[in-house]
Amino acid sequence: MTQVENGQPDRAPGREGRGGRRRRRDDALMVPDAKFTSYYGRPVIKEPAWGVPDVPGYLFLGGLAGASSVLAAGAQVSGYGELARVAKVGALGAISLSAVALVHDLGRPERFVNMLRVFKPSSPMSVGSWLLAAYGPVAGAAAVSDLTGILPAAGTAATLGAGLLGPGIATYTAALICDTAVPGWHEAHREMPYLFAGSASCAAAGLGLLTLPPAAARPARTLATLAAPAELVTKRLLLRRLGDIAEPYETGRPGRLLRAAEVLTVGGLAGAVLGRRNRAISALAGASLLAASALTRFGVFEAGLATARDPKYTIIPQRRRRDRRGMN
């Protein structure tokens, strides 16, 4: 094994403190005025082949589905039946759209079944495909049973089952994008799962707040008040970890999307809390949280692509790391 774990080089002793917003956690990623060479400015790695809006859309929808199933299970057990129904239907709808998006994104859609040829823990997409294969029918059963009233016991079991699989659905996508060479994702792999969990939870909560009167959506509100701050904090930690690679997260179009997402998250949180007696505000808060979640996924996705496109994000940290190792 290499002595230097990827992305975690030895801390340079006597590091000068810079103070301010960003404390340098990872020196390799911080090369402010580094000059670097590239091959005619061409990217070193390839941008992921995943299409927009299919894949970021799936990140959002999948997260919404998984967290909704969790919310549905909790709501059901604690007696919030309407919320549970909304969440189950929402999960089914989201996961169905997800399936469409995923199959559509394949280069050979008719071969989507090949996803089930093998089970490979080394491939988050393989794990995810199997998760989806299990989760989809279960979430479907939960929703159908609730809507039709057929087999309620089985429906409850399915709800709980979906609630068990839901967290996986909502977080494995972080592994999906972080388990790549894309610097803007890979280097954020310690934070991304929590960001996704938070974002998914906000979306699920938002759906509940949007569609139900505040009183009926209390668990959703609770979820929002737990998840939104966690998400905001996680995002800060993620950006700090990325250092200079955070640049596309804060500039350009991805920067705009993520700033908007942040505003909407804060607004949605405030609205959820302040609007706990006001249907309109509560609904608005719900919509904000849903939008914020979507914008977050698109922003993260596009920021990542930007780090793949510009060779400096690949070369500079690696060059730094290599030089520090003394190899040349």
Partner: protein
Amino acid sequence: MSVSTHRGAPFASGPADAGGGLDPAARSGYTDHPPRMGFFTDTSVCIGCKACEVACKEWNAVPEDGLELTGMSYDNTVGLGASTWRHVAFIEQPVVAAASTPAPAAAEGVRWLMASDVCKHCTESACLDVCPTGALFRTEFGTVVVQDDVCNGCGYCVGACPFGVIARREEDGQAHKCTLCYDRLGAGMEPACAKACPTESIQFGPLDELRERAALRVADLRADGQAQAQLYLDDPDDGIGGGGAFFLLLDEPEVYGLPPDPVVTTRDLPNIWKHVGLAAAGLAATGIALGLGRRSR
């Protein structure tokens, strides 16, 4: 359906044992397999003729992929991709001569680096690790090959490769890359590019022999004053476990468009799963907490 077994180092496609990095085929379950075969590309003798590009395309029926003048010196191929499996890079560098030479030009001279790039057939291969359909597999020669009849074009391999090698071809939606001429190897022949290369810049053979040869060659070049001559991806202890295709470069890797310190993303996967697990657990715990509340009537 089969469970892809990856023993040893978590989820990696190659060997984790130290001093290994030479037998990924065994790790993939082959017993009694031929020696690991690979490429040593000595760019110091490349003449930029692109016979490798043409031979590869002809043998593998790879389509033409772009009739556009790029202005990147003599490189109109630009980079590896689904329809370019050998790519010759050209880098023109000014060389400043000793002050004593009177010459009118600003640049006293030029150095022109030429290098034929190819899939590295990594010992720890990210594309192989992330492929969800098992289309990508390790051959008995230790090489990494895409099965064209299995790949469904999910594109995961594309973003996973630290070298930007594999890509999806628009015409058929599938991922394609160098096969190290798997069909030719099976017939006891060398890959088309190696055969076509007139100066033996592309050398094919058992990987351990190639590594020995390369070590001698780079030592010679250094002794001859070429201080920047270096081997790239020859070291089994590097971030990909060493490459099945490795190179002798005359400058830093990034000059050629290669990552200076590539590490296979799978190395971090255990950590990634750990955090996914914790996040999922956190979400599940939240769900349970929500369930503990009771609706007030």
